[in-house]
Amino acid sequence: MGFTRRDLLKFTGGATVGLVLTPVPWGLLRDTALLSETWPGVPQPARGEVRTRYTTCTLCPAACGVRARCVGEQPVSLAGVPEHPASRGALCANGLVAHHLPFCSDRATRPLANGRASTMEQAVARIRTAVDACGPDESVAILDPRPGRAASLVYRRYLAGLARGVYCAASNPFGVDLENTRAIVSFGVPVLDGWLSPGRVFAVRSHFALIQVEPEYSRTASLADLWVPIVPGGEAAFAGAVESGLRGEPTDPAAERVARMLLDHKPAIAIGPGAEKLNISLGSVGKPGGFLRRRDVAPATDFADLPDRSVRVLFTEEASLPWSVIERKLVARGAVVVALTAWHDAYASHADYVIPAPLFLESLDEAATPAGSTVAGFSLSPALVAAPQSVIAPPEFILRLAGDSTTYPDILKQRVAGLKKDGQGSVFTYADAKSTRVRDIGSADDLWKLLLAGALWLDDPLPQSGSAPLRADASYAPAPHRSPLMSKLDQESGLRRV
């Protein structure tokens, strides 16, 4: 009895039916499906323990509290810290995607000397030579965009050791008592779209009337209670007309309407170019609902006050002034500009040397007083991800240039120790939203640990007096370097935000 063709067919049929009844084909299907999910090209999220870490945003002077959801060591999303005194739980669009910045194509990752790749040692040696070659009528200047930091102290110390070193910054001893303001007249300041922390502004938006005076119908103008279109450059003239209206003198109808609104909503403040005199008329300096003095930072030279063609070597961080203003101050021939920056944009395109700096979240950094705060503040921004080997924090670079063996973290620790020694103010911790008086914290080390885990030190309010030259915190420009996801706003939708 042999094995016939019929037997073969029966065996095959039986085996097929039998196989279907076993878990084998279903398991294979599942395994194939799982395999297909890990094929090359299929995106693989990070795996690891999910935990929350806290830090402070350093992208702009608003210094918002940040809650980072991390998988392993990698932040996968950022959000605001609820009840944060400065940011009230909110982040701006730039802050929400700040963890993507290391993946932008235009970041600086290696030192450049006159557009060519260089080593850090070569760059330090050449810049040192340029500083030493500074003539008797020439100066070495550092333009500090955010005075009041420990980094600012590093810059001052370095410049103090030079024959003609000038520390330049726009220091401002005033904050805005926004929570008690009942009216704001803004001369082109993007109050709802880039002035102070958005969370702080919107937390009290319903409490104040907003008058937006500017030529363009901006986003802030679209949500203002009153938009007053003016000719470009007409801010000071319109402010003068409003002052006349406040005094009850006949004036332009639009200015009269604004004056009436300001008189009906007291206390009121004015912000932006042309607002200084108006604030004096409104009596908004040193009073609740107005501009309040906070602990001052050491005085600095305004960059605009430097003599033209006097700066031989200039160090810059992020762009804070138009390049045309900078250029006017540089000596006509042989000027050296050193951009301590993370990006190939802004000043870097004009600089002789580009020294790559770490990004937010890549290195231990600090945030000085949050913009607009009525009391001085300080917070740390710990590193959550590793920085490329070739980058160096700007103060660290200046320390190296000065031949100082102190490190930037040492300087930060000294600052924290100083806060503990002063014993002023309190510390708001992000994780539990609690405030603790500095004097109740055991030691400087304990304070350091608190700040490193996510906390904001806030000074005590100062006694106020109305007699001081007033300069309101400037609005900050949105960070020009952008997460790849910003394509959602400027390429994939009609919401252009370039």
Partner: protein, 243 residues
């Protein structure tokens, strides 16, 4: 655990607070692993589960006025157009939450649902999702990426709903507490213009805002019973939204 009344999750968006900053759009993309645009992508082919449109009253300066309207899946509660036309049953309305779910695994890419959606709130993957080198490690591990050839849309951050339910179950609760589950856009909005919650709970803030005299729903005359409410005191904005 006691059996609880089904929820009907919805949103109320205050257009008088929306500055058009786009934070909601970015938070949505981060949460749901929506990739950056391909070089060829346009507003027509891009993927934005939530999209903020700028509208104008059409008047010349100085009478011109503008407003920003975030549009997302309106979570239609009656005769849901996309669910009605899907040949694959890839769209289903969850009776426990009222959320209109999209299952990309079932989708065959016919795009009938996109045609049927009166709000243009559905998006097709014209390309395989791609992130710049290294950026994949920033993806949200709770949400699967989608493939080329399928449709996707807002699902009120379903991953967050699952996480909230898991937390509640671990504590022996079957119902979620108000505010325990929030979509990413709600959490991210710096102007606090978006309120989210259970429309079936008359005590909830969102239900109160839905009853507000200044609230309206997009294209209400179609009778799809959207669960997204908009609020504005500007009459011209309301008229534009009804058009």
């Amino acid at each position: 655990m006691t059996k609880t009344k089904p929820a009907r999750y919805g949103m109320a968006i205050d257009l008088d607070r929306c500055t058009g900053c786009g934070a909601c759009m970015l938070a949505c993309a981060v949460e749901n692993n929506v990739p950056p645009a391909q070089p060829e992508a346009t507003p027509r082919t891009g993927i934005t589960w939530m999209r903020v449109y700028q509208i104008s009253n059409g008047a010349a300066s100085p009478d011109t006025r503008a407003a920003f309207i975030p549009i997302l899946c309106q979570q239609c509660g009656r005769e849901t157009p996309c669910a009605a036309v899907c040949p694959q049953e890839a769209v289903q309305v969850d009776p426990a939450t009222g959320i209109v779910d999209q299952m990309p695994q079932r989708c065959l890419g016919c795009r009938y649902c996109m045609t049927a959606c009166p709000y243009h709130a559905r998006y097709f993957n014209w390309w395989d999702p791609q992130w710049p080198p290294g950026m994949e490690k920033t993806l949200n591990p709770d949400v699967a990426t989608r493939m080329r050839g399928v449709v996707e849309k807002c699902n009120f951050c379903h991953g967050r709903l699952h996480a909230a339910r898991t937390r509640a179950a671990a504590e022996g609760r079957s119902a979620l507490r108000p505010g325990e589950y929030l979509p990413a856009c709600v959490e991210a909005c710096p102007a606090r213009a978006i309120v989210f919650g259970d429309l079936n709970d008359p005590e909830s803030e969102v239900a109160g805002l839905a009853r507000d005299g200044h609230s309206f729903r997009m294209l209400e005359r179609l009778g799809t019973e959207p669960k997204i409410y908009y609020r504005t005191e500007r009459a011209w904005v309301r008229e534009a939204a009804h058009a």
